[in-house]
Symmetry: C2
Subunit: 336 residues, 2 copies
Amino acid sequence: MAQRIGKYTLLINNHVTVHSSVGIAGKKEGEGPLGSEFDMTFQDDKLGQSSWEKAESTFQATAVDMLLKRNAVSPAEIDFIFAGDLLNQCISSTFGLRDFDIPFLGQYGACSTMAQTMLVAALFVDSGIADKTIAVTSSHFCSAERQFRLPIEYGGQRTPTAQWTVTGAGAALIDRDGSSVQINHVTAGKIRDLKIKDANNMGAAMAPAAADTIYNFLSDTGTCPSDYDMILTGDLGLVGSELLKELLMKENIDISAQHQDCGLMIFDRKKQDVHAGGSGCGCSGSVFCSHIMKRLQSGDLHNILFAATGALMSPTSSQQGESIPSISHLIHLSRA
Amino acid sequence: MAQRIGKYTLLINNHVTVHSSVGIAGKKEGEGPLGSEFDMTFQDDKLGQSSWEKAESTFQATAVDMLLKRNAVSPAEIDFIFAGDLLNQCISSTFGLRDFDIPFLGQYGACSTMAQTMLVAALFVDSGIADKTIAVTSSHFCSAERQFRLPIEYGGQRTPTAQWTVTGAGAALIDRDGSSVQINHVTAGKIRDLKIKDANNMGAAMAPAAADTIYNFLSDTGTCPSDYDMILTGDLGLVGSELLKELLMKENIDISAQHQDCGLMIFDRKKQDVHAGGSGCGCSGSVFCSHIMKRLQSGDLHNILFAATGALMSPTSSQQGESIPSISHLIHLSRA
């Protein structure tokens, strides 16, 4: 049974592990610094489908299918699948996963979804509600651009603070005693809103949420940044990462030696024209489930915090002059 | 700790209760058969806000605020709030709840959200992950119409199978030993898709999901419809309710004596011009959290199943020729 540590953190007691994971990505991501780390990359980001949305659904379906086959697990053995994405009404998840016949609990945390789905999955497994669960998410540059910004055919200019939505998906099999990669603690986030309104500067809008959740975790556990090999955020990008470090420095917490951001790792900003870095649910989803998990499995990383962030706005709220509320959920993982 | 009964159902062991609940609604709902049952009804469905979306957020905020005040509970005492809605990126929940400073786990189950949020909340409380939680959802006729169908100013004709999105919200405080209304079992749904494509016939699209989950619950628990005072669906409306009964009759399960549907209860179909009945997350949310809870509290109802359903499509998926996948989550409640 999970045990509360401090106000916001739950200690996971029962050897909950990320048994296995699959991170897959599109062509541009395959050409980036982590290209060789993904379990699969696609040359055609449409995956042979008739729309970008169907392609994104196929990304989720493919990641889950690979995860099940690699571990010789049948869908009937999975007690719950936790999934979410950025598309209106989360259709990437619902259409991608409708044929698996697994009890489905849709999660909405915007780009924090990989951490949110893993957090809920870990709590279900720790508590004995479930034995085997899957956490999955995705994003797609083309479906996101046309939904949130402009039709890609329009070729709109991007501001320097803008980020590039990752085309990809991540899926993780979470159970007990399945591997050496343990989930030790989880901290759910609260919605933060520092009244930033620029929908082309998501990193800045999300940084306060990451700062709040990381601060809460460190306070609750009485630990400090140097206790961890890495403090990994999801998709703050260049602007948001700097702001996160500044916000935590105000609390006398210096994470500069440990901090990494999936949005800065997935692309080569000098060569790939992605401005402030990668973003989208599929950014931390694909990077965590491939590169980071491989480093944990190999022993290259021993003890990390994974705090993905999500911007909880919509084009409608931005058009109505609203600011951008954000959230961050945190998972503490270690190698047993 | 929740205990698995059969394949899909979890027995709730630790006296998890719906401590208290608040159901609020708009003007049209206030003029319907349940008008006097709601905790509050508004004459101005805009609630003084500058947009329908902001009005819907205010519905959620108002329901949660009333719930906290009525029970003299502060936001800091709530361990988790589970919320979701139909608006793109769930902005009704995220904007409505951003000022409460409560750990937030966004749920997406379309119109099944009241049951889904209660299901997850019940499991968290039963397992000791949380002591006090809130489950909340909302919908608004005007924000839903313009997002899913046509601008209301256009005055489009509605088909006979169309349903009327309820303007309202429901919020429930779920904890241990808080009242006489217990949650005994929960059954999470799987996505069903019988390839119905008519976005003006959601009831028919959702009926197979309700049939599947009710069937699974009855099989898992070895019970039959006559064991319950009421088998309540969320918003199947007239067409979906008939189809649900037909589908279950094929399995030799006759629920005709026990079945009720919130979408058929909330409006007077003869006088209120709502075609096949009410719909939306706020339909089962407001009806369950007011009328049904009052009947459970008074002892008028003793033992009921609440199975809300959600249609997991978007306007984009329908425009791309896709069918409508659906889901239903079930809660078994009884009076202690």
